[in-house]
């Protein structure tokens, strides 16, 4: 896409986050969408493009009374919303539509109005992974880490420090689910879920939603809130089967997606003020920092444990508390995007002073797919 040609002009989460038993999944989409339309000062009749994952875009458009000229139901897991942003930007630039609404809603904890997750027994995962009784992401997404730790001499303490630092950020965020400070010993001593992952190294399971509205940057100044320009995007995928990753110590999808986004944005890593890396589990920020090029191979564990990403550090990371401490409905990518938008608007609870560029990086499935969105509150060429 052309850098800064498209802007995010509406962004909001559901009114509540956490445990929302009084709302079905589709209503979580709608609650977030309505809050976002209010944020942008728009009505459903102003929206002519719709993208969502987890529900059909047809269902969401009809439920909200939107008549789309463009729909995108890309569903590659928790980073689907990063891909929606990218696809929407291309569609608007191509003139396929003017104003796109991207929604997420997930009754991840309460399970209201939500279908079951099933892996077909004749799929490749069903034949070659499911029989080994992996019980979902906590026992599957976590498999690569022992190989990473051994190959890079990263310690369990450094892995645990990811959760500790993110809890510090969560402590600054009134909407975070878990806000009490924790230590590395607390994390390592917590209940073991799947060795070496204890409970605090695994994401929360909550209910919630979020939505975004995108339009052409030329119109963006006319909206109530400060526009957040999209300056670079990337996407990729590697494998639906974690056992078939090319190398379990690095994500090919992360590298390809991140490199595309940085190239498109034409920025260097030193220019980045704020980073979001989808943290379903404690190892993901480590993989993300290395695969996006912020740290050399094997350096990210020490980088985090030495407080470079903590409040006051030089690279603020996952400043909402992340999937580990803020919230995680199942497809967390939308919440990472919301925090990047807040940071660029200057409205985040843990605001990074004078932040101008935010990198927002998501994972889909279990190292299956990836999407990267780089945003800025300044148009390219106007950044100070």
């Amino acid at each position: 896409m052309k850098p800064s040609s498209i802007a995010i002009v509406g962004a909001a989460e559901t009114t509540e986050l956490g445990r929302i038993p009084g709302m079905s999944q589709i209503q979580l989409h709608a609650d977030a969408a309505i809050n976002t339309m209010h944020d942008a000062g728009l009505k459903p009749s102003d929206i002519d493009g719709i993208a969502t994952a987890g529900e059909s875009p047809v269902a969401i458009a009809h439920y909200l009374g939107i008549t789309p000229k463009w729909t995108d139901g890309t569903q590659v897991g928790g980073c689907s919303f990063m891909l929606h942003v990218r696809h929407a930007a291309a569609a608007i630039n191509e003139g396929l539509c003017d104003t796109v609404l991207i929604t997420h809603g997930e009754s991840g904890r309460s399970g209201i109005g939500r279908g079951p997750w099933n892996t077909a027994s004749a799929s490749l995962q069903g034949q070659f992974e499911s029989p080994y009784c992996s019980m979902g992401p906590p026992t599957t997404f976590t498999i690569p880490v022992l190989r990473y730790l051994k190959d890079t001499d990263t310690t369990l303490e450094q892995l645990a420090s990811v959760a500790v630092v993110q809890r510090e950020w969560a402590g600054l965020n009134p909407r975070a689910s878990q806000r009490d400070p924790i230590t590395v010993d607390d994390v390592l001593g917590d209940r073991m879920i799947a060795y070496p992952f204890t409970k605090t190294m695994c994401c929360l399971v909550t209910d919630g939603g979020g939505a975004l509205i995108l339009t052409n940057a030329q119109r963006a100044e006319n909206f109530p809130n400060k526009p957040v320009y999209i300056v670079g995007t990337g996407e990729s995928s590697e494998t639906p089967m974690i056992s078939q990753m090319q190398d379990m110590t690095t994500s090919k999808a992360f590298r390809v997606s991140g490199q595309q986004a940085f190239t498109e944005a034409g920025i260097t890593h030193n220019e980045v003020d704020h980073v979001m890396i989808y943290d379903a589990f404690a190892h993901l920020p480590i993989y993300g920092l290395e695969d996006l090029g912020f740290c050399g191979r094997g350096e990210a564990g020490a980088f985090i444990s030495e407080r470079n990403t903590a409040p006051g550090g030089r690279l603020p990371l996952n400043t909402n508390g992340g999937g580990l401490s803020f919230m995680h409905s199942g497809m967390y990518g939308m919440y990472a995007l919301q925090e990047s938008v807040r940071q660029m608007r200057g409205t985040a609870p843990a605001q990074v002073p004078e932040a101008q560029i935010s990198v927002c990086h998501g994972v889909g499935g279990m190292f299956g797919a990836s999407g990267t969105v780089i945003v800025s509150n300044q148009k390219a060429g106007q950044r100070g």
Partner: protein, 174 residues
Amino acid sequence: MNTILKPLGSMVNEDSTAVRNTGMADKSKIPVPKATPETQHFWDGTKAGVLRLQRCCECSQIYFPPRPFCPACVSRDVEVFDACGRAFLYSYVINQRPHPAFDGPYSIAVVELEEGPRMMTNIVGVEQTPQALKLDMPLVVTFEPLNEDISLPYFQPAEQPVEQSSKQHAGGGR
């Protein structure tokens, strides 16, 4: 644990210590794979006590999971062959949450076969602890029937001489 299932052939005999040491409780709770036309040869192999891989006749790429073309060069000229059954432990977790198919914590692992491809498995015949499950430890395949059609490949430590274990666990169909 084999009360409801009859083992099929000597390769999957009930006396396999490896299988006993998995600590399996109710094997009927294991999600049973359903073969497709493209994977049938693999499941026919495990039923007969052999681990089958595929090789590209044009570029020699060896690959898994099964498909009737080479993932490196998309040639359809591929062949099925019997793997040696040896592997090493690439990475794993030990699941602590209860699963009805297991008596206690169990490993969910990825092994790298001597021929190159990796596959998911459970490591059996060994204590399910970080101390006993060492990355890069040598392993050998063993098979366990889930029903009359499907036998699952598992891996166990290759402490015994390799010839013996391949005779014991991977001899059929050769």
